[in-house]
Amino acid sequence: MVAALSGSKLRARRIALGLRQGDVAQAAGVSASYLNLIEHNRRRVPTDVLARLAAALNDAPEAFADGGGGAALDDLRAVALAWPSAELARADEFAQRLPGWAEAVLAMHQRSLAQEAAIAAVNDRMSHDPHLSASLHEVLSAVASVRSTSVILAETDDLEPEWQARFMRNLDQDSARLAKGAEALMRYLDSGGQIDAQGSASPQEEVEAWASSLDWQIASGDIPSTLSAPARDMARALQADICADHASLPEAAFRAALSAHGPDPLAIASALNAPPFAAFRRLAFAPELGLGLVVCDGSGTLVLRRAVAGFSLPRFGGACPLWPLFTAIARPMQAIEAVVEVGAASPNAPRFALRAFGMASHPAGFGGPELRRAMMLIIPASAGGPPALGVGATCRTCQRLACPARREPSILAGATGPNSGPNSGL
């Protein structure tokens, strides 16, 4: 890392060249809001980003390095710049005389900067995300046309045949366009949009995006420095788990057990005397199987998500309470399974077999708390067959408006639409 006060030099150079912040940010592959934070010494500049910014400003990275003190002192100066009441000239004295307090101030300042960057990135995304805006506009335009045209067809008794044919054709075009637009929008939202490393994603999302880019083949290899520090910690923990899974379920033995038992994590774990969760992860991360995985802690929070096509996983808020995952977290050591269909109720609704298992642990012994964790394997299944449990991703986007487990209205229903309110049965 280089010193935070590099930002002032970057800003001075940019202004001297008469360049706009947005243009330099684009050339360096960072967001304008991120560059703004850097230039105001409110964000430390990773070395690789500094190199790209320097190139965009047609200068050497060394020209922007700060000359004074160590990184901690530079950071303290950055704090002083952000707080005019702080004595900038006495930063060195403060760091030397009260190093513990200086460290605490720095830690709080860094946390504040990270939060500001995340807010700025989210704000940028919501305001200026061209893909989101274009997708929504496409869907709304198609909906407007379908609604207006269908009302004309339904309510105009004396509609001339040529107009009728024309409107039917328009309806056909717009319904196809609507389906395509809605699909693109949901795909985009499912993917989390354009997650970048500048704070628009949570550490968990950073890890998932990184693992997904490698098709979850992350047992070996370096963890990229572009991930935030918390994300790197989480990635290392996941990598260690996966390495342990491979040790307890070696490739040949795992393949043989899979061949004998199919994608049944408990049967495979039992056959090879391995931890159940190791078998869940081995199955979920085997690229040729095409399975998904969600993991939750005792609060029901999803702490790891490997998506599978057709089964949406929520980015925000709680997941569908009907998932077997949540039965498993409440009933440790029981195999919970359900065949479900997702999306709107339909004979062709995509189906999945969900296999969930929960475990409790006491890492601090009898004197400590009980911790719980549950995993759910998501296995694509054939459409059709006997009635299946209807589930969704999360109540906010679920099309099953009359669901008895609903806890809040769906955005797919009107705010006062029938059966869209939360269940009050309990």
């Binding site: 929504l136 506009h137 709304l140 335009s141 909906v143 407007a144 046309s145 379908v146 609604r147 207006s148 045209t149 009302v151 004309i152 309510e155 105009t156 107009w163 024309r166 409107f167 328009n170 075009q173 717009d174």
Partner: protein, 123 residues
């Protein structure tokens, strides 16, 4: 019922539905599918109402509205703007620029006809 309406809308199927609806009510509707040349068309047709989509190619609805209000010959011309939900900031800008009324997509046909009747002076 008589009266000329200039409809500036780039979505052909929405435009076709609006033309049909307003045509059945007796209005004469001329369609322009981009923002380009809007001022010339207004000067040529002298419409009694402009129905204007906010998001248009070449020139936005907001720019066209500003042009209309800046021209003494059209500064009082009623303008009904079509917007989508989520464009609150643009709507505020259009209000400041002097729009007469809004219609939010997806709109209700009867509400569209009623809004047009009102802006055409209850004709």
């Amino acid at each position: 019922m008589a009266g000329h309406i200039l409809l500036i809308e780039d979505e052909p199927n929405i435009a076709e539905a609006i033309r049909f609806l307003l045509g059945r009510d007796g209005w004469q509707v001329t369609l322009l599918t981009t923002g380009q040349g809007a001022s010339d068309e207004i000067a040529r047709l002298c419409p009694k109402l402009v129905i204007l989509d906010l998001m248009l190619p070449v020139r936005s609805g907001l720019q066209i509205l500003t042009d209309i209000r800046a021209d003494p010959a059209t500064q009082d011309l009623p303008v009904l703007m079509l917007t989508a939900k989520g464009q609150e900031r643009d709507r505020e800008a259009a209000l400041a620029a002097g729009v007469s009324n809004f219609m939010t997509k997806p709109f209700d046909n009867s509400e569209m006809r009623a809004a047009v009747r009102t802006l055409m002076g209850g004709a």
